[in-house]
Symmetry: C3
Subunit: 331 residues, 3 copies
């Protein structure tokens, strides 16, 4: 018995339909049970139980957790880890081989630190976190409870700050200030969160960040924000609560994306966005306007022809009227 | 004696011309031998041998392999590796220092696992693979034969799947299903391949993926596909065999890019693409149409002026005719 | 006493204003001293010292270095490092735990190599470098003095070079040539610099590269160049001295971006750029032209309506004149 996709499910499996586009495949599934929405209007079928719910996607999430539990690593500190004598390791924490814990670093209770993670001096990781292999947590970074950092995540690397000198060289602005990752945040593989020179970089509680995302120095990301893969946020920008950004979007520095705003895929946000707005494009404009303009973009060659034809026709009219020297009036 | 670029080559070196744009530099090369295509019409020159071939690029590839062989790491398991007692290590495999092999993980014959790689419990790596430093292979991932994973690659990290709750928080959908990397695949540095909640993520045989590429959960990539750097493929999308995607392209979720299709650089593929099609742009449209429209985009200000001029001229004509009160007819 | 942002500063702190947009916040700061430009026209205020300078940003950089000095790691080789017997470690260098140094690799004087770094055989790292955790430096790579490589950086991974065979498979072109990182370069977290088959990849002195940047095989990046986050440069392209590229920009292969050119955010540079030019867009065109055209893009629907209206009006005029059968002339 396992939870399986609608096309892969075998007898004995449970599957689900959350996205209406997959409803037609329901007739052919071999699953023994299907989680469906109450409003989907699915008809019963012999040999397949229907599990009605208001929220099939959430029910599916719970079913997966039930039938395919995660294997927890063994408690305790692996003998091949390098732990500073004054590092604090919480109860029932798990520290894998080749982990480095700097001076004064604190790991919370029940937190799992997988192999080859590096925790800098004075960093704090909360309780019940999952820190996957090859994560780098730089000195003095603060990480809350129930945070998941995927493989290769970097938290607290230097922000990209330089002062141009008269000879054209770039003087480094030391980046020594704080990074705070609040509770219940998840950050995807190989994403990077920079620290600023002053102030802080902060990722709000419950925010979820996908793979290969760049969050620059001094950025504030609010709570429950979703940042899809390969998004980049430039320095000192604020992303308010409940914002959603689709993949490969970029936001310029020193702007604000308002609460609950949505940014479409591969957009370039070059100025602040109002709360609740839905913007797309490069530069990002209201989504509906972008969509209409995009449909017309490919028709630019026909526009050119139509304008040329108009120019030709109007020239002919003008010529005709000029030849005629004006209408017969009593002027 | 070595293989060198056409401008760097010294006497004693062999060089090559595969790209016709470099043909003019042939006259000045100091190389002692040049690999050229039979159809290039290159004239002989004293002191420089011409090596004719139907496929200069492939001949060049073989010459490099001949003159600059890769140094193989020493066989055996480094004493500083952490290998689970029940992990299986194939004959003549090489396991570097600080490698972690989880319980039940299997490494194939003659496979080289470089330092600081982490192989999760139950993962399988085939024969003759090259696993570069800092690669993460998560639990139960299956990797075929002759696969190369470059530095920092992550295979099997959790897909970005959450169910939004009524209070605005995001419930994690556990991502516990399979990832399969078939034979002869190469994946570039710091690219990430996610695992899905159900079903599988699969990279087909012979596919080559460049650096910093994101392949989301449940994606199927076919055989002999080329994905250039910084491409991102969203969840549950299918990329069929022999597709080529240029750099920084993104593909939305739940669509299909047909066999042999080509996607131009930095495109946003927002719907399915027909087999054999060549598309570009944001959103991606047929390449020729994108190219024509792009040339006109920068002329939008002149279009505006032309439309304004037309509006002015037609208003003058209308005024003239209105003043005249209509032509003299027998109506 | 510390250096703080203008809104976070407390009594006893020093803050700064380099960007004129933050001048209005100066009245409300609680800082005890403010670094300002001589030309900012800031008025004095009781309890707050004004530190005038020609270049507030550089003065700020020096103040941060003064008040928040970096903690240097302990000198010497950690007993948990794996150092080849013939590797050369410079005076007062620091080698952290779980570092691998290949045969013949050389680490310069006073260079800090943080935990879990892998240095390949024959690689050379200069003096006074900072190599952060999880960096991979491949075999024979040459790195100058005072270079900083952030977490997860990969230098010398194989370029993406394959020769398509008649059966559709891709033959690997072995990538065995050189990578040189000159003095005073800084490379951001998880960025990747590939090595070519022949010739070299080179990053010029004083160049600064942000996070998640991809530099392909055979690329030459000049001196004092700035590449912002998530930029990608395709193979064999040359970026001349003093170029600046904003985030998420891509440059195609085999082109040249001229000295001092600036490329706007998220651009796609598809052909060579003149020295000193400022280009933006996809494809990149002169920035001013892109800006004007972008403003009009969203107005395409209104253009369509205007063209349709013109077509209607001109048809009415034509009809009117046709009905009249021509003007009364003595022709």
């Amino acid at each position: 018995m396992r939870v399986a996709g609608i096309t892969q499910a075998q007898p004995g499996d449970v599957t689900f339909v959350a996205n209406a586009r997959y409803l037609p495949q329901l007739a052919a599934t071999r699953a023994s049970a299907v989680i469906v929405g109450r409003t989907n209007g699915v008809e019963t079928r012999p040999g397949c139980a229907l599990l009605y719910t208001d929220d099939p996607y959430s029910a599916f999430a719970r079913a997966v957790a039930l039938f395919a539990p995660a294997a927890a690593p063994a408690h305790g500190v692996d003998p091949l880890a390098s732990i500073s004598p004054d590092a604090a390791i919480g109860a029932d924490a798990s520290i894998g081989p080749f982990v480095t814990n700097g001076a004064g670093a604190a790991i919370g209770a029940r937190t799992a630190v997988y192999p080859s993670v590096v925790v800098g001096a004075g960093a704090q990781v909360g309780d019940d976190c999952i820190i996957h292999p090859h994560v780098s947590i730089r000195e003095r970074v603060v990480i809350g409870n129930r945070v998941t950092l995927h493989e290769g995540v970097v938290v607290g690397s230097d922000g990209f700050g330089f002062a141009r000198q008269k000879d054209g060289t770039h003087l480094k602005i030391p980046q020594r200030a704080d990074v705070v990752i609040e509770d219940d945040v998840e950050i995807g593989a190989n994403s990077t969160i920079d620290r600023p020179a002053v102030g802080e970089t902060r990722i709000g509680a419950g925010t979820k960040i996908d793979n290969l995302v760049h969050v620059a120095h001094g950025v504030t990301v609010g709570r429950r924000v979703l940042l899809a893969a390969q998004v980049g946020i430039a320095g000192s920008t604020t992303i308010e609560d409940d914002v959603m950004m689709a993949g490969q979007t970029g936001v310029t520095g020193h702007v604000r994306v308002g609460r609950g705003a949505v940014v479409g895929a591969k957009s370039a946000v070059l100025q602040s966005v109002d709360p609740g707005a839905f913007v797309t494009g490069h530069p990002a404009i209201p989504h509906a306007a972008w969509r209409r303009a995009s449909m017309l973009f490919r028709r630019l060659p026909s526009f050119r022809k139509r304008v040329e034809a108009l120019e030709q026709r109007i020239a002919e009219l003008e010529e005709k009227l000029a030849a005629w020297q004006g209408p017969p009036t009593d002027r």
